[in-house]
């Protein structure tokens, strides 16, 4: 496992995503105000740059015509077709077993955000 220094914690504001290249792979490092996440910048659907989409929340499971908003900052929505992904697991909210994007472990050391590659 190799740790890659991507960005200083003070440089990444809450809600922001920095897209960078690590070992030839495009990866988005995202901070939701609590945690840092590293997500492969490729949508499994049509291979476009996923991390250029919106980091947001979503509607939670509910009864018909009941709307419950939640998971603010935990959902990444593709800029093309709007597919939603869980930033923690990389799994698509619909068809999670079929569609998932690779996520990487992240650690903070000396106020730097480090992405762990296998």
């Amino acid at each position: 496992m190799t740790k890659h220094d991507v960005v200083g914690v003070e440089e990444l504001e809450a809600g922001a995503c920095k897209i960078t290249t690590i070992e030839g792979k495009s990866i988005g490092v995202y901070y939701n105000g609590n945690e840092y996440y590293a997500i492969r910048n490729v949508c499994p659907h049509q291979q476009v740059e996923l991390c250029k989409g919106k980091f947001t929340g979503t509607t939670l499971e509910s009864k018909p015509h009941e709307y419950i908003y939640g998971r603010e900052g935990e959902i990444l929505t593709c800029p093309w077709h709007g597919w939603e992904f869980d930033v923690k697991t990389g799994k698509a909210l619909v068809d999670p077993d079929r569609y998932r994007v690779k996520v990487y472990d992240v650690s903070i050391e000396n106020n730097r955000v480090l992405v762990h590659m296998d």
């Binding site: 049509q46 291979q47 476009v48 250029k52 989409g53 929505t77 800029p79 093309w80 077709h81 709007g82």
Partner: protein, 371 residues
Amino acid sequence: MEASTTKKASKFNHGIIDCDVHQGVKSYDDLKPYMPRVWWDRLKAHNATLPFLMFRPIPLERNDAAPGNGLPSGSDPEFAKVDLLDRYNIERAVLTGNLLSISAHNNPDYAAALASAFNDYTMDTWIPSDERWLGSIVVATQDPLLAAKEIDRLGSHPRVVQVLLTSASREPYGQRRYYPIYEAAARNNLVIGIHGGGEGDGINPSTTAAGYPTTNFERHNILAIHHMSQLNSIVCEGVFERFPTLKVAFIEGGLAWLPHLMWRMDKNFRAMRNEVPWLKYKPSEYILKHVRLTTQPIEEPDNKELVQMFQLMHAEKTVMFSTDYPHWDNDTPLFVLNKLPEEMRRRVAYENAAEMYQLQERGLLAGGVAK
């Protein structure tokens, strides 16, 4: 003849023609020079005067296709050339514009003036910017005589290949009030393109045939009924008998419904032919000869079912590739075309569109006889 066709086909092996690219304006004020002063004040309120009622949780224009400096996606030809044509090596692209609810407007004179202005803007800013862009003349269908006038005004331009109507209309397009549009298209040797837009907006009938839906999800699932309704009307009313050279492209309306409609039409024709004595052939024969459909937004079954669907609808004749750039649900060439067997891919990616728009004959192919 056979031999030369084969030779041409092999030359076009890996080319792509994109049949649906949406160009727009940087600002609606840019249309002022092309419009009578009387309409200028409305341009400030184009969102109100161009009916577009349904809330879209995902914006229509892709944010990641924005050219920068706060300009809307699809408003800068120089950016679109790099972002779309160069990136995917697209040889020719048919522009379809973004006046997608023009025929929903209550005022036929304003709608016609806006369509004319948009066409002039396209001719002045997009068409000269790159030889890969091909143009469509958008017309407002509220007044078919005004629409015909607009087609005659611009139809002889060497890089205009199509007349664009939106799929929602006050009455179905096979009816006689629309003949002036078809006469003008035939006179100018232009394809009629019918593109989604304006369903349930303004003066048009409901978004679904059963009433107004609640969500954009529900609306988008059922959009194809408008294309089905228009195709059904055009074939049954005998438009292709009346205008034997006319070709119609159904753009952005899905595909999988076509076998259903062809089978149903042919079956009913056996029983009810005497209602339509002007039809000399089975409805599906008119469709295979005169009608083509574009891929985006393609249904996404698994690959095996996709190929089966393409076989059922004779895709080697009937289907043309499109991206729908820069809209939210656009398809990359890699996604759709890579799923098809080689022979079918070549027909869908290139040859069907080259034939439909007569690009070889017009000298509009890079690999053709003239540039």
